[in-house]
Symmetry: C2
Subunit: 461 residues, 2 copies
Amino acid sequence: MAKPSIPQGTRDFSADVVRKRNYIFSTIRSAFELYGFEPLETPAMENLDTLMGKYGEEGDKLIFKILNNGISNPKNIDKAKSGFEKALTGKSSSELTERALKYDLTIPFARYVAMNHGRLTFPFRRYQVQPVWRADRPQKGRYREFTQCDADIVGSTSLLNEVELANIYHLVFNKLGLWDYELKINSRKILTALTELCGGTAKMMDITIAIDKLDKIGLAGVKEELLLRELTEKQVGIIEKYLTVAGSNEEKLAQIKKLVGNSKAGKEGIREVEYLFQQTGNVKVEIDFTLARGLNYYTGTIFEAKAPPEVQMGSIGGGGRYDDLTGLFDLPGITGVGISFGVDRIYDVLEELKLFPDEVHSGTRAIFFNMGEAESRFAFSIMQQLREKGISCEMYHEFVKITKQFSYAQKKRIEYAIIIGSKEIEQNYCLVKHLGTGQQEVIVFERLFDYFNNLKNKSPQ
Amino acid sequence: MAKPSIPQGTRDFSADVVRKRNYIFSTIRSAFELYGFEPLETPAMENLDTLMGKYGEEGDKLIFKILNNGISNPKNIDKAKSGFEKALTGKSSSELTERALKYDLTIPFARYVAMNHGRLTFPFRRYQVQPVWRADRPQKGRYREFTQCDADIVGSTSLLNEVELANIYHLVFNKLGLWDYELKINSRKILTALTELCGGTAKMMDITIAIDKLDKIGLAGVKEELLLRELTEKQVGIIEKYLTVAGSNEEKLAQIKKLVGNSKAGKEGIREVEYLFQQTGNVKVEIDFTLARGLNYYTGTIFEAKAPPEVQMGSIGGGGRYDDLTGLFDLPGITGVGISFGVDRIYDVLEELKLFPDEVHSGTRAIFFNMGEAESRFAFSIMQQLREKGISCEMYHEFVKITKQFSYAQKKRIEYAIIIGSKEIEQNYCLVKHLGTGQQEVIVFERLFDYFNNLKNKSPQ
């Protein structure tokens, strides 16, 4: 057969990468748990009609659909043919594909809440760390299978939830060593107030989409786009004034109050942003009225976390408040607020800034070299005693040249080799060699556990 | 839209279930790490041709195939049509589906080893804990999406690997409290010797398949099946003698030596089983020559772990040695041995025997009740101090009736409520109420962390 390969846009994660990813996941999970969030896991597959129509026309095209099994079964053939005809016209049909891979964690979460709302305890604080799949064109930093990390509180309108989410960003990024991360906040209500100033909310989408591109195309580009989207010169003038609000958080608040502070939406939005800014205490937030976030369903506070300015990475997290999580599943009125971490990007940032701690790499603590048939049998029993006490170790089971065993240990980044030859067995000790420095110590068997246990306490994992 | 639902044979895992599953996963993972295995993760999707033809005709039918995206695109339509025609005749074609969901962890592992063998360090010890998908008819205990936990050592023929794998079963089941698990061992070589006695290895498959059913259909059933499979009365007689070998491990070994001890395969198989029995020390293994294990690729030692006899569950793990992991991917001669844990069944066994530890349930340690606007703002700052020190807690953000807050805490199984009213703020203390017993203590704010920290140490997680 052809050379084996994996699908474009997917990845194998070897031990080193798994460990580094787990370091990020467990840092995020611990923060979520610390704040009272509970884990949820939903299946990789969802019914197709749960997903279709939830991500816009472009999103629908990127959903991986699973072919129904048994389409060659005579009783299914007609249905499959009819489904295939529909698929060729760009429609999706459960006659050909009943199931699909989940595209994000939000819609499956909404589906879960709608299915179980009678049993759930509200406010419901859940977090979810799972892979999702998108048939996007793969490119640097964009994969077809990637992991999302979301936390949401649903069924509570209190702004204290927003304060807690900002604190979670702060906690996670600080634990990861990303002291210089930026956390931008805004409220969709202020953007609503702006559109009202521009003559009505009918233009909300156009304005949001254009503003969302500010980072990429600059102010001139946004103005051009707004004109193309049939806004008048006067309207564009108002938006320009809005986009050039600048200064410290306090100064921006003062300017924005003058601009949109008279409308109901403006007042509410300003109150939200101001409250969040005041209550987050030592969490450094930057009020940024140009923050729009593309996702349609946000209705209140919006968040965006950015990597430290010394790396060119942009957004490493985002979120916001929504009014109606489950309306699409016939359960209206469920409000909530949530955030998400972009793990793949965070990984690249930590790699670039060399922020993964050394301990992340360690697997096996020590290797017992194989010094012969009888020697290795003896060493095996010593090894089992270490393992029983929790020291991770292994033995080279084949009796081969020591250089080969050395090279194995080095490639696996094992720090210590334990050498037990016939002389050592006789005299009741072993040699412990640090494979990095070459330093060697004589340790009696009875002290071997203490030796490694003390090392462990010196560099805690 | 219709009432939301999830695909048949899939499950949502709520917090309680996720925590219990993670308890099992982390017990297994720790054991693998203790024995020097390294984690590997492969994508959910594999190229279709990596999977097809590897699981037999029945297996192929159970693979979930992913419809190619963009089949309605004019430049793809002809290809898709041709692929669909093939699919209707029961063939799979990359013109319609290039990718599929992985069916087990072994073939993706073999594909990984074949792709990366130049970079890997042999012997290569890897473990993998990931979901797999099968379009099997769902039934009790059988799901379409379920998690496998595998550990394999490839590139080493030493029987010490088998000894270690038996030890891992012992360690994991003991940690989980399943003291009475059974671990059966055999060698495929002994089965080979038996078939040789019956006139040649051409009948190996028939004999293995029939013996594999012994538990289900009994000796009479196996004999009947063997006759149906065109074995002679004389051959069936030999097999009957083989299947009735009984007694202690030592007695069984003595009997089997008489039966198949003269052939080369028999000698080797007996040596393997005897060695494993002798070297596993305090690990209780049961030699069972009727153990066959259906999977074709095993060539040496085979393992099967069974749940304690007081639960009707059968196999909760299995594995064995194979000669040629990657031959299907043009890399012959890679030998190895591996084991697997059946997590869903282990979950059911622990549930039935009530073996999940109490700590598994705990998420949030304490809830701060909301006693009013000003009070909750004060309590929030106290809460943040606890969180900073690692105590997981939360606050009811809405100021609602205490009974409602109580009920929320109880449903979420939170053990302690912390009550801070205006009087408490004034006098610098809070009330800590155990929600199970109703007992209440007065704790000054400065001692609150110590209070929870001491509790934590009393019941370690």
